[in-house]
Amino acid sequence: MNLTLHVWRQKGPQDKGKLETYPAKGVSEDQSFLEMLDDVNEELIKSGKDPIAFDHDCREGICGMCSQVINGKPHGGQERTTVCQLHMREFNDGDELFIEPWRARAFPIHKDLIVDRTALEMVMQAGGYTSCHTGGVADGNALLIPKPVADYAMDAAECIGCGACVASCPNSSAMLYTSAKVSQLAVLPQGKGEAKARVKEMTDAMQNEGFGNCTNHYECQEACPKGISVKFIAKLNREYMKSMA
């Protein structure tokens, strides 16, 4: 099939940037979306143009590196799918695609579709851990964690830190990302001791980094390639209230 791409091109953070139009010809439906972009880049290189810069690495939906908004939807809008898992059979011959980077104040653009997600790192550094050090810990079975609790923690822990939740939110909020880590550690006995300080400090960091607040649009849950539920945002709010008591 043949497609028309409108791709965001921006040389650097100071450049204004604009959409450029490129044809994608002879696309196979078995190709992944990124393999289609690889082909477009090969053509650009052969015609002496600068290929499109985009983040990607594992290409199997787990590293969280890929980050593109396709036709207004982060990761292309398929359920539980990252851009790298998106396949061309989801598109039709003649389609026009608009491909843009994550857009949020907290994510400055490095180049084309590549953004700077340091702000997400800062939120994690504020308290996304248990303060155990290597060695001297108890036997793994010394702490009993019944299956429903372990499952709840795992549901939250599946977050890949891609930032689609931020890109989809009208407020550019990082509540889903932050709440996933807060919730995982708040329900586990290992994390409970520091739960109050953690939720306070991670929430403060989130605000300081320029992310907005949650006003219950639930776009984040829709966009999340791992299907992280907004129930964790409710949990974050509860944990935050508890920390003030």
Binding site: G12, S28, D30, Q31, S32, L34, E35, D38, D39, E42, I45, K46, G48, P51, A53, D55, H56, D57, C58, R59, E60, G61, I62, C63, M65, Q85, H87, H110, K111, D116, R117, T118, E121, M124, Q125, G128, Y129, T130, C132, H133, T134, G135, V137, A138, D139, G140, L143, L144, I145, P146, A150, D151, A153, M154, A157, I160, G161, Q184, L185, L188
Partner: protein, 638 residues
């Protein structure tokens, strides 16, 4: 040169404890005076940097990704082994040690493997303390599953994302140290050279991937935890950015490269769909717990829908060939068996390079819901790529390059032959011999990072003065000039082929001639083709853009340039090793029924290659392997 692994002597079960006592220590107040450079932030690097930071060393960590959480360890699915014996099924440290030595086809060092088995239990405890949500039963106890090459259930897991959860555990520990100020992180930074001063590793040259600037970093020790090299095959299960570059730069500065021909071709990957593919996707080996591998008995049935092929016309070849291990035969054996069926023209799917992995028997036994619970995310992943529902129709799988057992040579302390250069995880050669068992990579990465390097690095640092060489040393300047010249040379080739076209060409030679089955003729062909492709790269490649900017083509070109030099040593190693063992299968050395034939008399050694210049004959150094606790035997899974 005969290499000495400096393994401790005496009863094997006391070696690590005795060695820890024998090693020198660094006084707590002196630790902060030492700067350690950690390259790579996967399981080994992340765990190592965090643990060294906690101890009080001054650590700087580097990764090419935008966050330390994204290293490819994250993609490991199935699980991590430990000798806990929670299920009471007869496991022990000795059994894990024995299984790993045997699984590696008797080509690993006994003492290193013993230590790995011994600390495996500490790893589980450590991860639990970090909040890793391992699978648990309703009472709250940790759950285990089975994996290939073992007859006990010793694998701990977190759904199908064990690597992700373990890496996020290490990342959280690392993040805590970054906040505490003991570790400084350099994301989007790639190591492009090792700086050696008077024969000792004293720093690295890196390229900032955002600005393109080359920078020098000095360190009292350099630790490489930079993963494996199977992207030399172009198509592999590795992430796109995985490369041999850091290890190869070290090799060019004198570090020996051990057993490069030991690569693992993983049996359960999604078959290739066409020639535009950029990578292959693995599905966890744990799938073989409940899935049965088969192909049609008759060639004529290969194009039929699998449901139309009656039971008696199916060949469950693993169960037939290896009745006691069946579908849980180790990876090298399962991969070769799949290739044999396809070579016999009984493969299925596009190009007939595929075999079925069938869940119907298990679904009938335990129900679809239980299968969904165990492997739901893997079935989902399979459906995304192939548009097929594996609950209804058997999966199609085919082997793909997955892991490198070979790597930089290290002694028992994980130090290379270049003093001050340490190598951890997949980047070293140490514990997996010629074949790695499932759920052992995560174990090794974390063992090296959490429990080995924090001990062994002190023994080295205690003998040197901190901070004697800084970035103003002439060797740093020289390194930057050399890298700069190489970058400019690449940008000025102005040829016609793209980097990925040439990488594909190299990959196709490596897969056809140095892949799952190798022969004298195929290896000699590869050794003719590799230098030709390398010449074409340096004369006819088109590397676009500039040096001083974010330039992904330049990044890929640099990695390919290193693969093109490394591939030659890889093929030479495979040619010199006139035996079949583990992942290295020479067609000349097999039994009548196609099993690997080892030659312990002549090849029970580690082959470590010294780089002598591009296109020049590398020099082979040998480290003899002694087996005092395990009897050398023909590896049988029948």
């Amino acid at each position: 040169m005969i290499l000495d692994g400096k393994t401790p002597t005496g009863p094997i079960e006391k070696t690590w404890d005795k060695h820890r006592f024998d090693m020198k220590l660094v006084n707590p107040a002196n630790k902060r005076k030492f700067k350690i450079l950690m390259v790579g932030t996967g399981l080994a690097g992340g765990a190592g940097a965090a643990s060294l930071g906690e101890l009080g060393y001054n650590v700087e960590a580097f990764c090419y990704q935008d966050s330390a959480r994204r290293a490819h360890s994250i993609a490991a699915q199935g699980g991590i082994n430990a000798a806990k014996n929670y299920p009471n099924d007869g496991d022990s440290i000795y059994r894990l040690f024995y299984d790993t030595i045997k699984g590696g086809d008797f080509r690993a060092r006994e003492a290193d493997v013993w230590r790995l088995a011994q600390v495996s239990n500490n790893i589980i405890d450590q991860c639990v303390a970090q909040g890793v949500p391992f699978a648990r039963d309703y009472a709250g106890y940790l759950d285990n599953r089975s994996f290939g090459g073992a007859q006990v259930s010793r694998t701990f897991y977190a759904r199908g994302q064990t690597g992700q959860q373990l890496l996020l555990g290490a990342y959280s520990a690392l993040t805590r140290q970054v906040k505490a100020g003991t570790v400084k992180l350099h994301p989007r930074t790639e190591m492009v050279d090792l700086v050696v001063v008077d024969g000792v590793a004293k720093g690295i040259t890196v390229r900032n991937l955002i600005t393109g600037q080359l920078e020098s970093h000095w360190g009292d020790a350099v630790v490489l935890a930079t993963g494996g090299y199977v992207n030399v095959f172009y198509l592999s299960t590795n992430a796109m950015g995985c490369s041999v570059t850091a290890a190869w730069k070290a090799a060019k500065k004198g570090a020996f490269f051990a057993n490069p021909c030991y690569t693992q071709i993983h049996p359960t990957c999604i078959p290739q769909h066409g020639d535009k593919q950029s990578k292959l996707t693995l599905m966890s080996e744990s799938l073989r717990n409940d899935g049965r591998c088969w192909v049609p008995k008759k060639k004529a049935d290969c194009d039929k829908a699998p449901a139309d092929i009656p039971e008696e016309d199916r060949d469950y070849y693993l169960e037939r060939k290896y009745p006691s291990f069946g579908n849980l035969a180790p990876r090298d054996i399962a991969s070769r068996a799949a290739k044999e069926q396809c070579d016999d023209e009984r493969g299925v799917g596009p190009g007939k390079r595929g075999v079925y992995l069938d869940y119907q028997t298990s679904i009938d036994r335990v129900g679809e819901d239980t299968i969904r619970e165990r492997y739901g995310n893997l079935f989902e992943m399979y459906e995304k790529i192939t548009a097929e529902d594996a609950y209804k129709r058997p999966m199609r799988i085919y082997p793909a390059p997955h892991y490198s057992m070979g790597g930089l040579w290290v002694d028992y302390n994980c130090m290379s032959n270049v003093p001050g250069l340490f190598v951890l995880g997949e980047a070293n050669f140490s514990v997996h011999g010629a074949n790695r068992l499932g759920a052992s990579a995560l174990m090794q990465g974390l063992a090296d990072g959490y429990f080995v390097i924090p001990n062994t690095i002190a023994n080295y640092l205690a003998g040197i003065t901190p901070g004697t060489v800084k970035e103003d040393h002439a060797e740093f300047k020289k390194s930057i000039e050399e890298v700069d010249a190489s970058v400019n040379k690449m940008l000025n080739i102005n040829g016609k082929k793209t980097v990925s076209e040439l990488h594909r060409e190299l990959g196709s030679v490596m897969w056809e001639d140095v892949g799952m089955a190798r022969s004298d003729a195929s290896l000699k062909n590869a050794l003719k083709r590799i230098p030709e492709i390398r010449d074409e790269f340096w004369n006819n490649c088109n590397v676009t853009g500039e040096a001083g900017e974010l330039n992904q083509q330049l990044e890929n070109a640099g990695r390919l340039a290193d693969f093109l030099e490394f591939a030659e040593v890889f093929a030479k190693d495979a040619l010199h090793r006139e035996e079949s063992c583990g992942g290295h299968f020479r067609t000349e050395h097999q039994t009548d029924d196609g099993e690997a034939m080892r030659d312990d008399e002549n090849f029970a050694y580690v082959g470590a290659w010294e780089f002598k210049g591009v296109g020049k004959e590398p020099e082979l150094h040998k480290e003899p392997l002694k087996f005092e606790n395990v009897k050398l035997a023909v590896r049988s899974y029948k």
